[in-house]
Symmetry: C2
Subunit: 431 residues, 2 copies
């Protein structure tokens, strides 16, 4: 990792730059596959599953027998762990339920806001080397709590046409019965346009490789919403001399093993801590199964020394980390002053992996600086708010004239007339 001492503010944006990728070639491929999915439906999904995943699928939908089999294949130790995580995630997201907000803004003018579920949602769960069943917990649990009526889950099959049993077990545990064996661009296309087997949805959630990411972006042109724009995962740790260097290094590595394009940053007011962490990184990295990936990720990464907490938090807010760990004496200072971050981990015994799996917070978070304007996935991600208003005779007498004046000033006379007619009818009644 590169160590940077006391960088000038003018250098911050260069230092904090994320690794970027070009997507224009992928865009063409996405548009081609989307057009095919739109025209040919399921046939296209099967064709590309053969081409990209190397397997011929007869039935896209996972059958009940496959769920039953999965149940027998998952160890009870793993089942218990999944249930522990599910229970915490459920508690935290249930606590996010909001009630109706109602107010009488003027006598006779009652306005309220209520949330309603997004009826149809699609969850994308990547396949590949690691079966990300934890992401099902993070998406399906709030979707169910929100009251979404149709939940579609797409995930690519392995070379034998199967889905990892932990994925099927978790889907079933969360009450998701519509699981389809399709991944990549074609899966996003299926949920965007609908096919014979797969319902068109209103919003698509979930992580994926760059093909899936670009496909989700392009899906938004066709009337679908997405959870958030995606980018490589990242972690920023701020730590002072009170931190445990071995713990800090283990957190940096747990982020680094995600992918070669992951980024980890350590900001510290202690030069000796930076040195100790660097030593720990060398020690801990050597025995990791994903050592090669982690080493590549550390190549994108920085150890940054700054003079004090004030400069540190300013730099952190400019970066807007997806995951933000605070191991400092003055933890409260960072809690008060952090503005841009996805999820914050406080203290020695709060590793990032706790939030990735089981503490209860969501792990689908804004990366790539999007913490400046996006929330991580939460209960509200599966709902939308609707406003209501009911105006009584008194109410329209109270605000009617203001509306008339405003509408006329904007040159919208039919808007004015809709009020005038009502006011006249009331004057008529008052004779």
């Amino acid at each position: 990792m590169k160590t940077i001492l006391n960088p000038k503010k003018t250098e911050w944006s260069a230092i904090l730059r994320r690794p970027t990728q070009s997507v224009s070639e992928i865009e063409e491929l996405v548009i081609e596959i989307f057009n095919e999915v739109k025209m040919e439906g399921d046939e296209t999904l099967k064709k590309y599953t053969k081409q990209f995943d190397g397997v011929k699928i007869i039935d896209l939908k996972v059958a009940q027998a496959e769920f039953d089999e999965a149940e027998t294949l998952v160890s009870s130790e793993l089942k218990n762990a999944i249930q522990t995580a599910a229970s915490n995630i459920k508690k935290f997201h249930e606590a996010q339920k909001t009630s109706k907000i109602e107010i009488e803004t003027t006598p006779g003018v009652i306005c309220w806001q209520e949330k309603r579920p997004i009826e149809k949602v699609g969850l994308y769960i990547p396949g590949g080397t690691a079966p990300l069943f934890s992401t099902i917990l993070m998406l399906a649990i709030p979707a169910k709590l929100a009251g979404c009526t149709e939940i579609v889950l797409c995930t690519p099959p392995d070379k034998t046409g199967k889905i990892n049993p932990a994925i099927l077990y978790t889907a079933k545990l969360c009450g998701v019965s519509q699981v389809y064996k399709v991944g990549g661009i074609q899966a996003i296309g299926a949920m965007t346009f609908g096919t014979e087997s797969i319902s068109k949805v209103y919003k698509i959630f979930g992580p994926g490789n760059q093909y899936v990411t670009v496909a989700k972006q392009i899906a938004t042109k066709f009337g679908v919403a997405i959870d958030m724009p995606a980018g490589p995962s990242e972690l920023l740790v701020v730590a002072d001399e009170s931190a445990n260097p071995a713990f800090v290094a283990s957190d940096l590595l747990s982020q680094a093993e995600h992918g070669a394009d992951s980024q980890v940053i350590l900001v510290s007011t202690s030069k000796s801590l930076l040195e100790e962490v660097e030593l720990e990184l060398q020690n801990q990295i050597t025995n990791l199964p994903r050592e090669i990936i982690a080493r590549k990720a550390l190549g994108n990464s920085k150890l940054i020394f700054v003079e004090n907490d004030k400069i540190a938090i300013e730099l952190i807010n400019e970066y807007g980390p997806e995951h933000f760990i605070v191991c400092c004496k003055d933890e409260e200072y960072y809690i008060r002053n952090v503005v841009n971050a996805g999820s914050v981990f406080l203290g020695k015994f709060t590793p990032e992996s706790a939030g990735d799996y089981a503490s209860g917070t969501n792990h689908t978070l804004p990366t790539n600086g999007y913490a400046k304007q996006f929330s991580g996935v939460n209960l509200d991600s599966f709902m939308k708010s609707i406003t209501f208003q009911r105006i009584s005779e008194t109410g329209i007498l109270n605000i009617g004239n203001a509306i008339e004046v405003l509408a006329e000033a904007e040159g919208l006379m039919a808007h004015k007339k809709a009020v005038t007619l009502r006011l006249q009818s009331l004057k008529g009644n008052n004779k």
Copy 2:
């Protein structure tokens, strides 16, 4: 307007289709102007303001003297009306403030969610025939309440290089001091990339013509968020024989005058009401200043007879209207069962124009069916939620093993090790 009796469910999607537009030509223009803004900054803004708005601008930023002058040009009647509206909008959006949500998911594992403002936001206010100062109220009031620290407002100047006084008066009333004389694609580009005069923002809000709409869409490729995808404005009224046909017609017309591409739909369980409303429409439309526009909009519009409330609400939820007026005996039925709508207006004395201006609800709402997955602008549109977690020694002892099992099952051994190290250190302490 076209009257349709008892349409079959299979015909609904064709009947409810919105007028659409092709945007690919506009996209090229947007990308060209964006590139220029990025390279040349303010110069490009001035160049296109000359070209599209027909005026040469020296200072893009509105000066204090111009605000002062505007103050003298707005009538006190209009000022009072703006203040009435502002007061109601403030009350309703202030009521939307949420407090920290905190829960202990497992003993020793505390998770909470807090909202923080989006620091830099941009508001776009269209110029053109009607000065939409009401939209400033709808955007700047919640931005201020949310605590956004930098609020940039762009609006095109008129042929003499001035901004309508009502716009400047309203901006100042809402505490917005950074107002820039620039509109169209170039304004969206300026807020996306930043120029010498105008700050780059994190999220852009506000309505606009199709050029602005496409520019906002493309801006999202460059790391900016937008309030929501836009489309022509629309209104759906459901009314039965208890409704007042003149009032219903006046609401349909107030929507129709917005633009030739506006869409209005009346759904009714009463054939005689449909006939009475159609007569009223003919009477009321003839004296409107925007009659030509309104007539064109009525060309896209439908009167639909259905057998009962149940069919009506199903059709309405399939459409997902931006504005939804309910004038029916069983109002509660519609409140309970509406899932997809932007803003709902209940009863005889609640015209759409109340919500457009002064009841307190926001008028920036999802159109084009986006009510299925988007909220209208509300206080949360200017904030994002951050999650926090603090795990004690007891906490990690409680959930540590579950995290280890889950991380190992996903093949992420560094994630596991970050927990193992901590558990080992605690066992060491317990000797």
